[in-house]
Amino acid sequence: MASAFSFTPASHSSTPSHALADWFRGTSRIGTWLPLAWYDICLRYRRSMLGPLWLTISMGAMLLGMGPLYAALFGLPMHSFFPHLALGMVFWLFIAGTINESCGVFTQSAGYLKHADSPLSLFVWRLEARQAVQLAHHALLYLPIAWWAGIRPSAAMVMFIPGFLLLVFFLHAIAMALGIMCARFRDIAQIVSSLVGFLMFLTPVVWQPETLPPRMRFVLDNPFAILLSLVRDPLLGKTCSSDAWISGVAWTVAAVIVSFLVFAWKRRQVVYWV
């Protein structure tokens, strides 16, 4: 791989400033990881009839099944429940997919890591971009659902963008830390997978947070619930409280700091571990 350092590469140093430089080096190579992420999706669906559109169709089938059933079970009106469910499932698949796949993000790229001096962040962004492409395919379904439920574009929807950015960086931090740890200890992946499954029920993906009795409200304090509400509520036409925003930012910053410490401390070893 052609690269153009003029001195000892940043990847060899253990100082935080070099770690940060190395992270930026990977992030700036969007011309590499974004097309690769897109190809990952296309190639997976090559030789299938409808290609990546299957992503949309399978999500649609799941929502059509879950929507009426759960609405009846919870005794909720479909007009308010269905969009909530659709967005919940769509974003949860993005979150769960990113976290679960992050366990193998470096171990599965061992060939690339040992071939040339590649920044770790490049692989994490590739993973997240791939998940985001899938998210986009799933999210197409929200348009007809929102239209049917009477949700119209409003100014409040703009707040989806900062919410989504927070989620992206929160997940990136988690993915990086998990990827590094799983390169060393191969059983962490199973633990993560169980935890993510558990979190899906703890987080208001399907159920609506308003239905929670007051003494159980602490359940909503988990970062996934908070960030999910920051991306979902704007698209439902609602505004989030400033408390939710402060919380979301705080969790993201905390995750980024912890993840960066793990990254700066252990990134040089990853190529030895895979």
Binding site: M1, A2, S3, A4, F5, S6, F7, T8, P9, S11, H12, R29, G31, T32, P35, L36, Y39, L43, R46, R47, G111, Y112, L113, K114, H115, A116, D117, R268, V271, Y272, W273
Partner: protein
Amino acid sequence: MALLELRGVSIDLPVFGFDAASLKKTVARTVTGGRIKFDTGVTVVRALDGISLTLRDGDRLGVIGHNGAGKTTLLRTLAGVYPPSQGTYLRKGTLVSFIDPMLGIEMDATGYENIRLRGLVMGLNHATISRLSPDIAEFSGLGDYLAMPVRTYSAGMLMRLAFSIVTSVRADILLLDEWLSAGDADFRQRADQRMREIVANTGILVLATHSPDMVQRECNRVMQLSHGRTASDEPVLERLMSFW
């Protein structure tokens, strides 16, 4: 002005999951290349031990040694993949590694798509790949096959494609694990010529090989590795006489 320098570099490769000391390990120590130490349940193989090396423009280094001596590890260290456990590593200039031409090749993608994919893996951007694609396609000589998925290719065709892509980039420093060649006699002739051009235009060449002819022909310095250590780094002829 390319420069590649290692000073007292040692590479310790951790091996996890190794069982407690056993007869097997004693036997393993004699047949594998590295010298094995034991440390808190994690086995550490010292793949390179105190290697010092300075390469400048015009240097053509041949690396020879028995299987497991550390040639590939040395190449990876020179590529900047392994941060040294001890010692320092310094590089000036661009570097391209021809060690694994098949890396990034996707079987279900077409020849053209693989040119793009392999180019991305090499760190090239969209515009550069588009610019290089016609030459790569033409050099490979695969014609209409490039529009078909590469899983339909024969092994030789695949290597021709990989070779054409990998040799389309130029850099100051070139790392080779065995001389790169592929395809039928006709293609091999063109491939050799291209390799010769690339080597002639490159600042530093490092070639790991088992072939004395190769070293004789292409290199002006040779390093012999044995169990991770280097015996010497001398002008070619004397070393070859004593090695073979």
